[in-house]
Symmetry: C2
Subunit: 346 residues, 2 copies
């Protein structure tokens, strides 16, 4: 099977997308990988799978690679003597943050009729925005953490008690996120968050809250990962974050009761189906007083959360055979024909 890995993008997470993409070489061992890099100025480059490494990008050497153009049905290389289509069975969207998670890549793939693994446009637009994620969760009966919402030009008034956590509404990977312990720290934290986004979401910071991650997809049936209890630290430094996006070996399942596991999995399924069909996502849950609350949806998790699955490569193959299809719309110009014949009669 030939899998195109789309990575990079005009995103604050451009670099960790490169790390995620390189990790795929270790976990998709039987597939042939076709690496398609989206530069920060949004050009497409075909990267040699044998030569891929992070320096190729940081040095700018990638610019010597072949540039690709999107055309209906796929990517192509344009040459002196015509164009050549790049051959693959499915594209795997590994662009974290903007472009990959906000619906742009999903739009491009759908518009140009390329089979792809990724949340579709609606799922992207809803999960890229932490406010809309709340709406979505509420609409399918999954509880979330209490919140307030502030736009850049709003009065900086918070009703909930400190400590609070401030998050830019549209970013992942803890970028621009601050924990605010009292009112004296509020302005600075908001300044930081508004550097990255026009809107922020404010939630209570729950000290020592139990956190559990559940990844999964739907192929011809549910394929859910183990439930992981991630190591908690207030903030990850760059090396730990790097570790997180380059993880390639399985971790141990969290030691939780069957009842809690069932609750987490039920919440995951409610969020996922049918909106996220075609994608592999990770949902991060809090458990507070026995209640399961959705914290975040990771629509394109670091290294696709491969380390949570027993047979990640098999799952990707199965999913690529069960992708949602756009409805076929036939345009027959009946309406215009009718107008013309009506005009003809007049």
């Amino acid at each position: 099977m030939k899998i195109a890995i789309l990575f990079g993008g005009s995103s604050y997470e451009h670099e960790i997308s490169i790390v995620s993409a390189i990790t795929m070489k270790k976990v998709l061992k039987n597939a042939t990988l076709v690496y398609i890099f989206v530069s920060s100025d949004r050009k497409f480059y075909l990267i040699d799978t044998q030569k891929i490494n992070s320096k190729l990008f940081s040095s700018g050497e990638y610019k010597k690679s072949k540039e690709l153009t999107l055309k209906n049905g796929g990517f192509q290389v344009d040459g002196m003597f015509g164009s050549k289509r790049i051959d693959f069975d499915v594209a795997l969207n590994l662009i974290h943050g903007r472009d990959g998670e906000d619906g742009k890549i999903a739009s491009l793939m759908e518009f140009y009729t390329i089979p792809f693994i990724s949340p579709r446009i609606e799922a992207s637009a809803l999960s890229y925005n932490k406010l809309y994620t709340k709406f979505l969760a509420e609409s399918v009966g999954v509880k979330t953490v209490a919140y307030e919402y502030l736009s850049k030009n709003d009065e900086r008034k918070i009703a909930m008690p400190y400590p609070i956590i401030i998050k830019p509404v549209r970013l992942g990977s803890s970028i621009g996120v601050s924990i605010v312990k009292d009112a004296s720290e509020l302005d600075y934290a908001l300044d930081v968050a508004f550097e990255f986004d026009t809107d922020v979401i404010i939630e209570p910071f729950i000290e020592g809250v139990k956190e559990f991650n559940q990844a999964g997809t739907y192929t011809n049936d549910w394929e859910l990962s183990i439930v992981e209890e991630p190591h908690k630290e207030e903030f990850l430094d760059f090396e730990k974050k790097y570790m997180d996006f380059s993880r390639d070996s399985q971790v141990l399942a969290a030691d939780i009761s069957d009842a809690l596991k069932a609750k987490i999995q039920e919440s995951f399924k409610k969020i996922y189906d049918p909106l996220f069909r075609g994608s592999i996502i990770r949902c991060d849950f809090f458990v507070v007083e026995g209640k399961v609350l959705l914290n975040e949806i990771n629509p394109i998790p670091g290294s696709m959360a491969n380390y949570l699955f027993e047979d990640f490569e098999g799952l990707v193959e199965r999913l690529s055979k069960h992708l949602p299809k756009e409805q076929n719309i036939a345009v027959d110009y009946q309406y215009i024909h009718s107008i013309q014949s009506a005009k003809g009669k007049a």
Copy 2:
């Protein structure tokens, strides 16, 4: 000023988009128009502004026009001796329904860095879906009509009393919409709606409800249209619909109190700002017992609702100078450099 008109698309409203586009010739008189047609198989064609008429498309003759390719910064014509960029100041998205209203065109324009008039991705994804429109309205404090929601595989049980109106959740222009007077008509109406979409929304059908349309945009200040009370008929036949999408002369303002007008305008502004910045939209409101309820958002209204504005052409020009800009994200590879130097030390 040079305005590119994007029209057509893979949409049930492909044909009325052609009608809307041709109407622009009559209302954008001072501008130079560059017509870019999206065929139903999603190829781009440059259409001669002098020759444009509906038959060009229904006959298939458009295929003789020059095909365009999207590249970062614009559309281009590829030729034997290199490529030529198509020159314009702003693109006006006039694709009704899928592709235009679901976020695909907004994604393409943003990805390829082309200035454009249209709802952005989030605004598109939310307003293309009638359920998400409800979420949006509720979140900004605008009331909507009561509703129920059904997916294709759900049990066909409705709690609200008849008569009801059934709408596919993602389509405009009354496609697939039925009024159901009693339970015996329910199955057939649902079958029709599910022909077009996987989900439907069900609302009470309110006999003789007062309906008012408000269009508008935000340039350097609010620019709101007159409030129109549209002519009501259960369904428009094709000639009336054609009239609706080809309207080019101003209509009279509805005869309503200043207080009601203010309520409608306030509701419009709550919905519009800031989500719809960069677009010209029309909101259709119901007034029930003095309360203003949002019925629908028309993110790309027929012929851009030009007939509701006193100075439509001036508005388009002003808007093109006040388009929202994507945040500039600099990628400096600091993170990868740090990993490399950390590795070097190890």
